[in-house]
């Protein structure tokens, strides 16, 4: 937590108040009164809907049913493959960006961070739309490929797994840059200076000092990116084909196409459990690293 009362400060203020003739202390219950609205709000609009979801999933042997559905196993496999591939690419590219930002001076850092943050503030639909425009048959990418003579006819770049992974890496990249940057920023400058003065070259400094020290940051980044990947819904629809449906799309299919709410709820809980386990591991890594608080 951010701050705690120091015992000394607490006694000081208590004794200061004791001697005062007119004590109008802050009523004891004020903070409970301040906390009550948000707790009531979350109880009604967050916990109750989730409770209903859990209840719905217990009907009609939903779990047995969805786990036997070949479409579900297919979408689970897709989710794992697409997420793993996107995570790998995102972490590699994110590491490069983080290192470059870390090597710059304060002003350049702010500018480069702003470049990373702009897509961060932009919603997924804007980005997916942009990729659809770039990758369509008469889009910039195909025009460039034809101009370079790589291909005669436009390539079908849209509505396949390549487009989904591309769109996801683009969306996820900022999420990888920040934890890796935090890990780099925590490295003691003197380690590098010492290594250099002992004759180490750039490559061996990177391999033997920087890379090992950023392993916790990289694993945190990878896990965070993987967690976010597993919940993707919009990108597989906009940029993917029928064979690229992920688990979130399967939940949507059960709920809005089959109107099988028990099955949809069971799948949703399955996804929630998977994500919660990954989040628990993520927070453990962060606590071990001690650098970057999850919030």
């Amino acid at each position: 937590m951010t701050s705690t009362v120091t015992p000394a400060a607490a006694t000081a203020s208590a004794s200061a108040g004791a001697g005062a003739p007119r004590r109008r202390r802050r009523p004891r219950g004020t903070w409970l009164l301040l906390l009550a609205p948000v707790l009531a709000f979350d109880a009604v609009l967050f916990l109750t809907p989730l409770g209903k979801l859990v209840a719905a999933s217990t009907h009609d042997h939903a779990y047995q049913r969805v786990l036997k559905d070949p479409l579900v196993s297919r979408s689970l496999l897709n989710t794992f493959e697409i997420s793993a591939l996107s995570t790998l690419a995102t972490v590699v590219l994110g590491y490069l960006l983080a290192v470059v930002i870390w090597r710059r001076g304060p002003l350049a850092r702010v500018i480069l961070f702003a470049l990373v943050l702009l897509p961060f503030w932009t919603g997924v639909l804007v980005k997916n739309f942009a990729w659809a425009v770039l990758l369509q048959d008469n889009g910039l990418v195909n025009t460039a490929l034809q101009g370079l003579g790589v291909t005669d006819a436009p390539l079908a770049l849209l509505h396949d797994r390549f487009a989904v992974v591309l769109g996801m890496v683009h969306y996820l990249l900022p999420y990888a840059v920040f934890p890796i940057f935090a890990a780099l920023a925590a490295i003691d400058d003197r380690l590098e200076l010492a290594a250099r003065s002992l004759g180490a070259g750039e490559a061996s400094i990177f391999r033997r000092i920087i890379l090992p020290l950023t392993v916790p940051g990289v694993s945190a980044a990878g896990l965070l990116v993987f967690i976010i990947s597993t919940g993707f819904f919009i990108t597989p629809v906009v940029l993917g084909g029928p064979g690229d449906m992920m688990i979130a799309n399967q939940i949507d299919f059960y709920a809005r196409q089959l109107t099988d709410f028990a099955g949809a709820s069971a799948l949703a809980l399955l996804l929630t459990v998977i994500v919660s386990v990954l989040v628990a591991i993520y927070q453990r890594i962060l606590r071990a690293g001690g650098e970057y608080e999850a919030g």
Binding site: T2, V5, L45, L50, L112, F113, G123, H170
Partner: protein
């Protein structure tokens, strides 16, 4: 700071395509919004403001814009009020169960959007709240409260709780403490929280898709539906508006970061939306 270090030109050069990859697709929607033809080409063949004026004359797009703004308004007001009061209530206090309460307050951030969408869908049908923007706004408020809570909590980090007790012991009532001790400190946190809440709501698609009705179709939902049929310049106009909002949010964030000289403090808060 780092005098003896080489400039690392090779990694800088290698990173240029990655930065282009990161930034350019977000920005191309701006010229595309000014495409003259009915179907999108990039780069545009001829420039015109036809799509922009067409967008603002289009009944369906205007109703989507209005639905989005209404939902965002509900989300911002609730998130700032509830997130702000929660952060003040928990500031400087230790009690058993604090971790659990904080966990509950932050929990909406980690539940996948599609799970929340399904839960809200069933919940709002069961209580008979369908066909308006209000359920979308309330659902977005659930998502946005953690962001406002975190930004206000971050702004309180520098406030010594003993200051509050001093004010009380000098005779300040609960209202005065709020007005003169807490409010000046948390004001930047409230502004940032409002900004995050707005950004979360205006970009959120999955929940709004599940809760949509003919009278309550938000901008991203309309875009999502239209993209699956045709890439039209009006989608680009809508995207350009969202990019403009994003840029404003970014500028405010950069100003905050520069003023506080701390990139680290805003790091955990840099994710206005987490579902793709």
């Amino acid at each position: 700071m780092r005098p003896a270090r080489p400039r690392h030109v090779s990694s800088l050069i290698a990173s240029v395509p990655v930065f282009v990859f990161l930034v350019v697709p977000t920005l191309i929607v701006l010229p595309v919004a000014f495409t003259g033809s009915r179907y999108i080409t990039f780069p545009p063949q001829q420039l015109s403001t036809e799509a922009v004026t067409g967008f603002f004359r289009d009944q369906a797009w205007m109703s989507a814009l209005s639905a989005s703004l209404q939902a965002a308004g509900v989300a911002v007001v609730i998130a700032v009020l509830l997130g702000g009061t929660a952060a003040v209530a928990l500031h400087g206090r230790t009690f058993p169960g604090k971790a659990a309460i904080t966990g509950l307050l932050l929990a909406p951030m980690i539940v996948p959007a599609v799970v929340l969408a399904l839960a809200f869908y069933q919940f709002f049908i069961s209580v008979g709240m369908v066909g308006t923007v209000l359920p979308i706004g309330l659902a977005h408020a659930v998502l946005a409260v953690p962001y406002a809570f975190l930004t206000v909590r971050a702004s309180l980090a520098g406030l010594n709780p003993a200051l509050v007790r001093s004010a009380s012991s000098l005779g300040a009532g609960a209202f005065s403490v709020m007005r003169f001790v807490y409010l000046p400190v948390i004001r930047p946190g409230l502004v940032a929280g409002a900004l995050f809440a707005f950004s979360v709501s205006i970009d959120e698609t999955v929940i709004a898709l599940f809760l949509q009705s003919p009278n309550a179709t938000t901008l991203p939902v309309k875009m999502f539906t239209d993209i699956q049929y045709n890439l039209t310049p009006k989608i680009a106009v809508s995207s350009a508006m969202l990019v403009t909002v994003a840029t404003l949010g970014l500028l405010v964030q950069v100003c905050f970061t520069i003023r506080r000289r701390s990139v680290a403090r805003l790091l955990p808060l840099t994710a206005p939306e987490q579902t793709g």
